[in-house]
C-alpha cells in the first residue's frame, strides 16, 4: 500500500493553560492506534507528530517531504469549538518571529524546495491563558471535538 506521510504539529505553550491545546492534541493522537506509526501497514497514512511553541523557519524543511500537514493550535477568538480549514502559502506575510504563521511556513517551503504539501489548520477554541498547566473544562470538551474531527479526516485519506 502506498502510504501517505502525514505531519501533525501541536503548537502552543503547555505552561499557559489552554495554549497547551495543540500539544495535548498530538499527545493523545500519539497514543491512538489509528495514528500509531508502529502499525504502518494497516493504515493508508503514517503519522508523525511534532510539538512546537511556535513555528519557525526550519519547519519549511520539516514539511517538505510530507503529503499532508496539519497545524493544530489554540484559538483565542470565535464561536466555533474546533474547526479544520485548508491552509495555503501566502505572498503577503505579516508576521513576528514570535511565531511564523502556517501560511508563511508553506510559502517558505515553496520558495526553497519547489513544493508544498496539502495543509490544514486545526483551530481549537481555548478560554484560559494564565500561567498554569492543564486545560480548562471548556477547552477539554473542545479538544475532544478536535480529536474527532482529525480522526474522521484521516479516515478519508
Amino acid at each position: 500500500m502506498d502510504q501517505k506521510k502525514v505531519l501533525i504539529f501541536g503548537i502552543g505553550n503547555p505552561g499557559r493553560g489552554d495554549d497547551g491545546l495543540g500539544p495535548e492534541l498530538i499527545e493523545r493522537l500519539r497514543r491512538d492506534p489509528q495514528t500509531h506509526a508502529e502499525f504502518p501497514g494497516t493504515s493508508a497514512c503514517v503519522c508523525e507528530f511534532e510539538f512546537r511553541y511556535q513555528l519557525n523557519i526550519e519547519d519549511a524543511f520539516a514539511i517538505k517531504d510530507h503529503h499532508l500537514v496539519i497545524f493544530a493550535d489554540a484559538a483565542t477568538t470565535g464561536d466555533v469549538e474546533a474547526a479544520l480549514t485548508e491552509a495555503f502559502p501566502s505572498d503577503v506575510i505579516a508576521f513576528t518571529t514570535h511565531r511564523m504563521s502556517p501560511a508563511a511556513v508553506l510559502a517558505l517551503c515553496h520558495e526553497l524546495y519547489g513544493r508544498t504539501p496539502k495543509a490544514y489548520i486545526l483551530s481549537i477554541r481555548g478560554h484560559q491563558w494564565d500561567i498554569r498547566e492543564g486545560l480548562s473544562s471548556r477547552a477539554e470538551a473542545n479538544l475532544n471535538q478536535a480529536l474527532d474531527i482529525v480522526r474522521k479526516f484521516l479516515d478519508t485519506i
Binding site: 495554549d19 511553541y53 523557519i57 508576521f95
Partner: protein, 482 residues
C-alpha cells in the same frame, strides 16, 4: 497639536512591544519610549515547586531560548544540590556546553537570516511584503537555505543533549542525565552534506564575510546608526576568554575601563540593582558602582566582544582581531555592529561544537555528583541575547521560596530605549510625513539587540496588538487592534 506616534507590535522580534514617540506642536521629538505591556508572573509561579523542577519549569518562559533558562536554572540548583559551579563531572559539563553552544548556534543563525538580513538586503524603505524571510528566499535562495539548515543543525544538537528540542530534561541537579552516543557524535561530525560540523563552520564564515562586505559598502549606515557610548557587561573566563557557559562577571565602560572584574556572579546582588519605572513593566538593571543614572549597561554579542580579551577558537579569533582593530582596540559602541559580533559568535559556536564532538569525555558514564545541600543558588550563563541570571532560595522541604530572574533583554532595556531615542531624534524629528521606512528604522534599532520580549515579561501566548495615537493632551485620536 503634538502627536504621539505608536508602533505596535514591533515586527520580527520575539514577543510584542510598543514604541511611543511624542512630538510637540512643531513636530520635534520631546520623548520616546519602548514599552513592554505584559506582566511578570513567572517568579511567583515557580514558588512552592521542588527545586529540582526549576530547570524544566523555567523552559516554559520562552519557546525561543528555553535552553538558556534550562542551563542557568541548572547551574543555580547545582549549588542547592551541593555541587559548586566547577564541581560537575567532565562529561556533565561538556554535555551542557554542547547543548549551550548548539543553542547559541541556532539562535544566532535565526536572528541573522530571519530577522536582520531582510533589512540589510532590501533596506529600510523596501516594500514590507518583500522585507522578510520569504523575500530573502525569493532573491537570495542560498542564504535562506543556509539559515534554515543552520537552525536545524543547532536544534538537532539540542535534541541529542537535552533529550528534546523544547522542554529538554538533560541538565539535572549536579549533572546531566545522558551522554552523547558514538552514533550521535558521528551524525554531527560526519553527517551527509550539508548537515555536519565542517559545513556549518564554513557557512558561518560565509556569513561573517557577507556582513563585512555589506559593511564596506554601507559604512556610514552601519557605523552611525544608533551609535552611542555605554557600559558593557558579560561573563568572561578566568583567563579573559569569551565563554558562554561559565566565568566571572566583568563590566567595562565605553572607553574600556573596567568597572567590575573577576566578580563571582553569586554576589551579583552586591553589584547589580534593578530600577522600576512607572511606564514599563520591564525593570531597568544598573551597575551599583555607577548608580541608577549612569549604571545602565549593554549585554549580548556587542558587550561580550567588548569585555573579553580573546576568543579561544582560531577562526573566530582571527575575525575578532579584525573586528577589534576597526575600533583600534577600544570598545565598540555602534549598535548595528551587534550583527557583526553576533556572526563572529556564530562562527565561534560552530568551532566549539566541533571541538566538543571530538572530545571522548562526551561518551563518559560518570554523569552526576552530589554534595551537601544549600538553601540558595545562583546560576548565570551568557544566553544568545546576553547575560542571564537565575537565583533561587529553598526551604527545609526543598521547595522554592524565592526566584529572581534577570533576563538579557531586561538588561538591554535602557540601551534599546536609547537606540529608539537616537532614531526618533535623527530620523523622525521635524519630518512633514512619517513613512513606513522611518518606522522601520526604529525597529531596526531594536532588532540589533535581538530582544526576546517573551522572556523579559515572562509572557508567552496571545496578546492583543494595539496601535494608539494620542494628541498633545493625551487624548486618544486613533486606535487599531489585531
Amino acid at each position: 497639536m503634538g502627536r504621539k506616534i505608536t508602533i505596535e507590535p514591533i515586527t520580527r522580534i520575539e514577543g510584542h512591544g510598543k514604541v511611543t514617540v511624542q512630538l510637540d506642536d512643531d513636530g520635534r521629538v520631546v520623548q520616546s519610549r519602548f514599552h513592554i505591556v505584559e506582566f511578570r508572573g513567572f517568579e511567583r509561579f515557580v514558588q512552592g515547586h521542588p527545586y529540582w523542577e526549576a530547570p524544566v519549569l523555567v523552559e516554559r518562559l520562552c519557546g525561543i531560548c528555553p535552553v538558556s533558562h534550562h542551563l542557568a536554572a541548572a547551574k543555580a540548583v547545582d549549588i542547592i544540590a551541593g555541587v559548586g559551579p566547577e564541581g560537575l563531572t567532565p562529561t556533565a559539563e561538556k554535555m551542557r556546553r554542547l547543548m549551550h553552544y548548539g543553542q547559541m548556534f541556532q539562535s544566532h543563525a535565526l536572528h541573522f537570516f530571519h530577522l536582520a538580513s531582510p533589512d540589510l538586503l532590501f533596506g529600510a524603505d523596501a516594500d514590507p511584503a518583500i522585507r522578510n524571510v520569504i523575500g530573502v528566499a525569493l532573491m537570495h535562495k542560498d542564504l535562506a537555505v543556509q539559515g534554515v539548515l543552520m537552525r536545524k543543525f543547532g536544534q538537532e544538537i539540542i535534541l541529542a543533549t537535552a533529550g528534546k528540542k523544547i522542554h529538554g530534561t538533560g541538565a539535572i541537579p549536579g549533572g546531566i542525565n545522558k551522554n552523547l552516543s558514538p552514533e550521535e557524535r558521528d551524525s554531527f561530525l560526519r553527517g551527509p552534506d550539508p548537515l555536519n560540523a565542517d559545513k556549518m563552520i564554513a557557512w558561518a564564515q560565509t556569513a561573517v564575510a557577507f556582513f563585512k562586505d555589506f559593511h564596506k559598502k554601507n559604512t556610514g549606515l552601519i557605523d552611525g546608526f544608533a551609535a552611542f557610548p555605554s557600559n558593557h557587561l558579560s561573563l568572561v573566563r578566568k583567563d579573559g576568554a569569551l565563554d558562554f557557559y561559565h566565568g566571572a562577571l566583568r563590566a567595562v565602560d565605553a572607553d574600556g575601563k573596567r568597572i567590575l572584574d573577576d566578580v563571582d556572579y553569586r554576589d551579583y546582588l552586591d553589584h547589580i540593582g534593578e530600577e522600576v519605572r512607572s511606564w514599563s513593566y520591564m525593570k531597568f538593571p544598573y551597575l551599583r558602582a555607577l548608580g541608577k543614572a549612569e549604571g545602565w549597561y549593554r549585554v549580548g554579542p556587542l558587550a561580550r566582544l567588548n569585555t573579553c580579551d580573546f576568543i579561544p577558537t582560531p577562526l573566530a579569533q582571527k575575525e575578532f582581531e579584525t573586528y577589534r582593530a576597526y575600533t583600534k582596540g577600544k570598545p565598540n559602541n555602534m549598535s548595528l555592529h551587534s550583527h557583526w559580533a553576533r556572526l563572529i559568535e556564530l562562527l565561534h559556536s560552530g568551532e566549539v561544537i566541533k571541538q566538543l564532538l571530538l572530545d571522548p569525555d562526551l561518551q563518559g558514564t560518570d554523569l552526576v555528583r552530589k554534595g551537601r545541600k544549600a538553601r540558595e543558588g545562583v546560576g548565570l550563563v551568557e544566553a544568545p541575547r546576553g547575560t542571564l541570571f537565575h537565583h533561587y532560595r529553598v526551604n527545609a522541604d526543598d521547595q522554592i521560596t524565592m526566584a529572581n530572574l534577570i533576563v538579557s533583554t531586561t538588561s538591554n532595556n535602557e540601551p534599546m530605549n536609547r537606540a529608539v531615542s537616537w532614531v526618533a531624534k535623527n530620523v523622525l524629528d521635524r519630518k512633514a510625513e512619517i513613512t513606513e521606512g522611518m518606522l522601520n528604522r526604529v525597529e531596526i534599532a531594536i532588532r540589533a539587540y535581538d530582544p526576546c520580549l517573551s522572556c523579559a515579561t515572562h509572557a508567552l501566548g496571545r496578546m492583543p496588538l494595539e496601535v494608539a495615537l494620542y494628541d498633545a493632551r493625551g487624548k486618544l485620536i486613533s486606535r487599531k487592534e489585531r
